[in-house]
């Protein structure tokens, strides 16, 4: 069945968020897919850390303001200590 546009967007959004947090906020790469809930908590925690750094509202959700920052061209050095 054709994937609903929203689901496809959601997939792309998740990919953007995960790679941004892996690159710049030391989110561990997804080596244990069967621990999906544990990873989800880690992702939310890192997302909050990124939102706090950029002075955004700390929602733990990839809202529009957060995604807008993540799409901006930037320096490749991480924002947090690794």
């Amino acid at each position: 069945f054709p994937v609903a546009l929203e689901a496809e967007d959601e997939g792309k959004t998740l990919q953007l968020v995960e790679s941004y947090l892996q690159n710049f906020y030391d989110l561990e790469r997804d080596h244990q897919p069967h621990l999906r809930n544990k990873d989800k908590n880690a992702l939310v925690a890192k997302l909050k850390e990124m939102q706090a750094f950029f002075g955004l509202e700390v929602t733990g959700k990839p809202d529009l303001d957060t995604l807008e920052i993540m799409k901006k061209p930037r320096c490749g050095v991480p924002d947090v200590r690794q």
């Binding site: 061209p73 050095v77 924002d79």
Partner: protein, 168 residues
């Protein structure tokens, strides 16, 4: 401003830099000028000096790189990550890498080379990312006319906290 973890700094004030290669997107003279101006952003407010060297290993080696360039931090093609740099230290320490697939310019089109290198040199000297949106060391790119650029106070405070004020 934020110091890099472990507060690394250069133990000498007289540093050297070398330009290993050039982007075909700009005239070499314009690349040289952009780098000289970026270095002066930091030397103007500290006792640091930068001497350009050829054919030898410099403290700060500057190069344009593609995708995977053997430093564990591959570039990602146009946009996204524009450049990165390494904290003060031997070997790769202090080096600046620029993503060759970006549209490097000397003006407001594409990505201004001076602005990006000035930011990366902040890392080369021991600064990390600032969460002050107006700071040069803010992680996201934003254009400022190089002729009107003034190093923001947050960055001045940070670099002087590491190396002291300029002797001039």
């Amino acid at each position: 401003y934020v110091f890099t973890a472990g507060n690394p700094k250069w133990k000498r004030n007289n540093l050297t830099y070398r330009i290993l290669n050039y982007t075909p997107k700009m005239r070499q003279a314009d690349v040289d000028k952009a780098i000289r101006k970026a270095l002066s952003v930091w030397s103007n407010v500290t006792p640091l000096t930068f001497q350009k060297v050829e054919n030898e290993v410099a403290d700060i080696m500057i190069s344009f790189e593609y995708r995977d360039h053997r430093d564990n931090s591959p570039f990602d093609g146009p946009n996204g990550q524009l450049a990165h740099a390494f904290q003060p230290g031997e070997g790769i320490g202090g080096d600046v890498h620029l993503d060759e697939e970006e549209a490097w310019t000397k003006n407001g089109e594409g990505y201004n080379l001076f602005i990006v290198i000035a930011h990366e040199l902040g890392h080369s000297l021991g600064l990390s990312h600032s969460n002050d949106p107006g700071a040069l060391m803010y992680p996201s790119y934003s254009y400022t006319d190089p002729n009107e650029f003034l190093l923001p106070q947050d960055d001045i405070d940070g670099i002087q906290a590491i190396y002291g004020q300029s002797n001039a």
